[in-house]
Symmetry: D2
Subunit: 430 residues, 4 copies
């Protein structure tokens, strides 16, 4: 898996079709590289309704190109199998009827091999479309290809989350890859960084790709605040546990406490007690807990309870964006090939690990920005319809392609979800 495959760098010159095609090839190759360590059997399993079988991911991202580019714009395009249009539609209600999500793991056929053939079929047609796009639709085609690549990058992260969850069900603790980059050692003290209050511009305003939900750029008043210099570590989180964090209702939101009780939660997802020591299931197998690495696989409820216990709170998404604005997008991403958050490395005075390592839960519900307009037509189902019951996370993680993230990027999950690489950075009033 060579590095370039992970760096489409689509932002600079997307108006040139050759560049777009190069990006297309790289993104598509990356998805397949991520599945290379899997057996055919691994490709089928759906370990909970929120997880999808890897072969479904591989097919669905191809369906996206077929449904939104090849069918409308490639003259004479012949789908490989008409049934795939139903099988691999995720949730686009205005595009036929999606196959029920919770039953994706019951479909053994088409098999992995046929899914790769479907990918090849789509790729061939996409090469054709991109080499001679119909002039009157060229602009829209470029926009949709760009969206399709961003979409596939999202599914690359989902693939890693889902593969980790699938393998973690197995009492044999199977290892996804035993050749991951070794995590660096390090120990950074937590510092508090101050930010001035005032009116800030929030949201995506410049050029380059952004999802509809990052727009429009708009003004928000932000009171002065402080932000922790790095995410909370496993070691810090252990202190929370040791102090009865999972046993004290007063630390929790009411819904969170109900989850603690019902789910029997007593540690982050994937932590296991073995031989009197905490271990963590990783994509590299079961490992002793690294006390200096960011704590990961927390629900919003756990992040919130930890913050309350710390005498702090979660940042709002506006605060987070204020802190991130102007910073270079660097960090422990998919390309770092750790596939696990690692200890912070010292670097200047500013915040560490704002990008990469772990998604950072914010205290903001995922709701539309003032003046929000979803995309037209079926693609309008991409983001807007999920704007209830979810909280915003920021900054990307160790499974996010680096070229996929930016400071205005809004990720979102239900507050009880834990299988994404999510951690917590503290904030407080100035």
């Amino acid at each position: 898996m060579s590095q370039p495959a992970y760096r489409p760098r689509m932002q600079p010159a997307l108006d040139q079709l050759e560049h777009l095609l190069a990006c297309y090839r790289q993104v598509r190759a990356t998805s397949e590289a991520l599945c290379a360590p899997l057996s055919a059997e691994d490709h089928v399993v759906q370990s909970m309704p929120d997880v999808s079988p890897p072969k479904w991911h591989l097919a669905h991202v191809s369906w996206f190109f077929e449904a939104f580019l090849l069918r409308p714009y490639l003259n004479g395009y012949r789908p490989l199998d008409e049934a795939y249009d139903h099988l691999f539609n995720s949730y686009y209600e205005t595009h036929g009827t999606p196959f029920p999500r919770a039953r994706r793991g019951l479909i053994s056929r088409p098999g992995t091999l046929e899914v790769y053939q479907f990918r090849a079929h789509v790729d061939e047609a996409m090469e054709q479309l991109l080499s001679r796009p119909p002039v009157e639709h060229a602009g829209e085609i470029v926009r949709r290809v760009e969206l399709g690549l961003q979409h596939e990058q999202q599914h690359q992260e989902l693939l890693l989350m889902d593969i980790k969850h699938i393998l973690a069900q197995n009492p044999l603790h199977p290892v996804y890859r035993d050749d991951l980059s070794p995590p660096p050692l390090g120990h950074e003290h937590l510092r508090w960084l101050g930010y001035a209050g005032g009116i800030y511009n929030i949201g995506h305003g410049g050029e380059g790709f952004a999802f509809d939900c990052e727009r429009p750029r708009h003004r928000e008043f932000v009171e002065p605040f402080q932000l922790a210099s790095r995410p909370a570590t496993n070691g810090e989180y252990l202190s929370f546990i040791a102090d009865g964090g999972y046993a004290r209702s007063d630390l929790w939101l009411s819904d969170g406490w109900a989850q603690v009780i019902q789910g029997g939660w007593h540690a982050p997802l994937y932590w296991q007690r073995r031989d009197d020591a905490w271990h963590e299931m990783t994509l590299g197998g079961l490992r002793p807990l690294d006390l200096d690495a960011p704590v990961c696989h927390l629900s919003f409820y756990e992040a919130d309870a930890y913050a309350r216990w710390s005498g702090a709170r979660l940042p709002t998404e506006a605060e987070w964006e204020v802190a991130a604005n102007g910073l270079a997008v660097r960090g422990n991403f998919l390309e770092s090939d750790h596939l696990q958050p690692v200890a912070a490395e010292p670097e200047g005075e500013g915040p560490l690990q704002l990008f990469g390592d772990v998604w950072e839960w914010t205290g903001s519900a995922y709701r539309p920005y003032p003046g929000f307009r979803p995309l037209e037509g079926t693609l309008g189902e991409y983001n807007g319809k999920f704007m209830s019951g979810q909280m915003v996370l920021r900054g990307g993680c160790c499974a996010t392609p680096e070229s996929h993230i930016r400071s205005s990027y809004r990720n979102f999950f239900q507050p009880a979800m834990r299988w994404q690489f999510a951690g917590v950075r503290l904030a407080r009033e100035a």
Copy 2:
């Protein structure tokens, strides 16, 4: 049920104990007046887990005074029954173990009569406490009594919501009261009112009572916006239904669409088709739908879908508060004795029915204001711990005591809930 009973008017002079005691008596009498039309059997039923039996409400609000005032501050206070401390604790986890909410309707004893005896026991002790409060705790006692009265007023509205829901389960369509005030006729055209953008102060800042979640007063930047002059009416909502509102997935948030399917929703709660015409279950029995009255008993999802269908959106809570600031708190409240939203009456140029009639769903999730601090100790469980998974509603309704509401008041419910008197006022970009 005389009018004065509904007007505690606690705001002006709460430092005087006689006034506080008068308020206490009025609020307590009102709760009992609301239950007077009920049979003993009506007092027991819990028609869904969110509903509580009326006798539980009557007891719980008394428990609040016992737990937070009589036990800590009245020397020599003897509880009527120690078991009540467990039975009538709602959700205060740090005050013993609450009896499970979903099982409240399984407890036939203490019966209604004994609950009234419990009330009398508490009232007697409260009179004693308020006539000679221990000097060193006088300030805290006044604050807690005030909170206890506000709390009981909230349960007065809950009582009416729950009684309506209980009676609505019954195929006999029982009538709660047949002597309600007759609804006025009227038809107001919808106008759009414009508001300037800028930095506004939001939240409770002045004197007088407010809940912790309304504080602190803080700055928010609000873009220019427009607000509908009145809530949407039943007639307008019928057009939404006629246009396939409940059958078009593209109008709905994803979670909302799932609810429509799962719940078989096709109209607001309490609407019934009879003899080819829509009727509505009210506290005055089954009535033909009043097309000019505000549509009521909508979930957030329905309010949101209706707004999308209208080419508009829900207001944020800041926008709503900007519009309400400085307006007199007047409208169709509990004291109007309609117990049902009624058609708007023309009045000046400003917004109509901003207060009273129906709670208005906003597009804002219920989250803490910047700098929010919950109350100390067990009373801190009052608001803060519910700040996830709920949306804010504003303005009070036809079942809210008039003295209970203010422009900074934040009500909140899960987005699928429909049994509260909730409607929708449209907003849009300026």
Copy 3:
């Protein structure tokens, strides 16, 4: 509550209408006497889907007379309220649509008083019908009245089961009656009684009332067997518990073991550990466990596991009937006014407590006898349609009216049910 009310003695001379009317009055009066200790609130509660509110029982047994006698046979009969025909239909699908069982506890109106008025209305009409029955239907009317009275007697037992269950939900341990007959002391050693093998006649063959499911009388071959002289006692069952009875999967049927785990079962229903001693919730309140009384409120699974632990098995229903045939129907019934199983009293060589005290689980599934024919029409739904998923119990209990039971009587419950007065008598191969 005078004794005669419990002794309809319908068997001897049911052809005489005066006698039938006297029975009618007695049975109807008994139902009301059983509810006399209840408050209005007690009448409303449904503590689980299998339980019905007492006022529903009182109304439903009256509906039975209305639906099957007054409507078809009493000229000019006017129902008190047409809606009751739906509300109080239990499960007769061919007689309109029954109101959903699990929602019976949500219906506060008609209230207790109106239900008594409904009873009086039905009683008056029944007196009229029975004083001058239409000649051409007289035979059918007598048969249906007889069935209606047997039906109401069944509901008398259900009333006591359900009242016990309702009150037992309450942490205050309310007492149904504090004037019950005091239980006798006694200790009977368990003896084994032998019975010869051969072809036996099983089922009801003679005159007098019997349900359709007890018919036809038919031949069964029974191998030689032995039967315990009395049911297992609380003391014996304690030894089972002490020996890890609820912790050893090898003692249980697979379905039973799943119930033990899922339900957290560790003792019979209604047992409570208090001050280091076992107590039992009874209709007379919480009492210390009587070690010599029959163990009660066992599921089939517990009875079966106890038998396996004892190196024995449950009797088949044929074996039980062989043992009971020819024995007088005497024992601790409703009329004994213990409303709780009591220790056996020595009496001759034969089996003790075969009738009364506790229903005895048999190892027989409730299935039709060879040649079974259900009643014609809607009344055919009485027994036959329940012949799957249930096990047979025999002999009546301390809540069964004495005149209601006979040696051929087949009671039946799902194997996990525990709120009926059910115990266990051991059997083994000869």
Copy 4:
């Protein structure tokens, strides 16, 4: 897949180890032959909790030999992987903790290939054990091998049931095998055959293998009865449907009617309406319904309702055995390679298709015979613990190995189950 592989013929001379070993090889080869048409992905899916992934079946039957033969009796045996002892234990609670049944489909590893390696490992060790069994355990070893082979044959049928169910979830209607034996044509009129009443010996009494639940042979009195000459056909069942069979509550047991409503049942499992004609999903793909073939994939409830509609009833298991006694075990079995019930072929005066084609639901609950003794130790969990909540089926089906069935064979399923090859033969009083 050659015929011999399906005919272990273990009955004649099991005392000879060479014969046993030959049987072992044949049975083991058959299991693998049945999975040969499957892809690796097909091996992983668990389409409902009652279904197991094919690779689980292949591993579990091997675990059986490892747990009950190799571990106790083969000196120096080294398991391939200790974790398999947990992963592939089905339900033997007294042999460690079984991996949860409903999660079998979440385990992608060991993969299919490794499962085959596990099989080879076990086979090699079994060859070793059977070539030189320790003398003192030789008898028990032979008995256990025999049981292990019968067990694997049961799983061969389960494999076919589960594969059918897995493929049927797929909207693409995948075909398991397209080279199945073509079904014969035929149309046999239904005749009624009479049987005399009297005392019969029921259960397995002779030599040869039988499960513990078929024992002991005992006497039962059977009244005179009549039995249909063949199972009900698809054509006959269509008449039941056309007559409103799925819409008339009076035809159904109460539990069955609840299933019809809840499951939306309106035809047997696997029936599909296409182009205005009924089709049936088979292991050979979707086929037009053969009106003369036995109706299949009925629940007990459907079989019972059909019988009631026909004015008949289900036979008891004793009646079925009376009819089957002395008849040759011949019919449409696994070896016929139809893998689907087919139309009856005329043959003499006796009953047709009593063996093979479809399992025939009886009206008998699965309960122990008088004097039943389960096997000693963990193997005692094989049958006895399932003796509640299930009904007996008789005769084997088109997926049963011919050598596996006999007239005393008792199969059992919960009454709502439909994925086994089950049909209905009518009975009635003589």
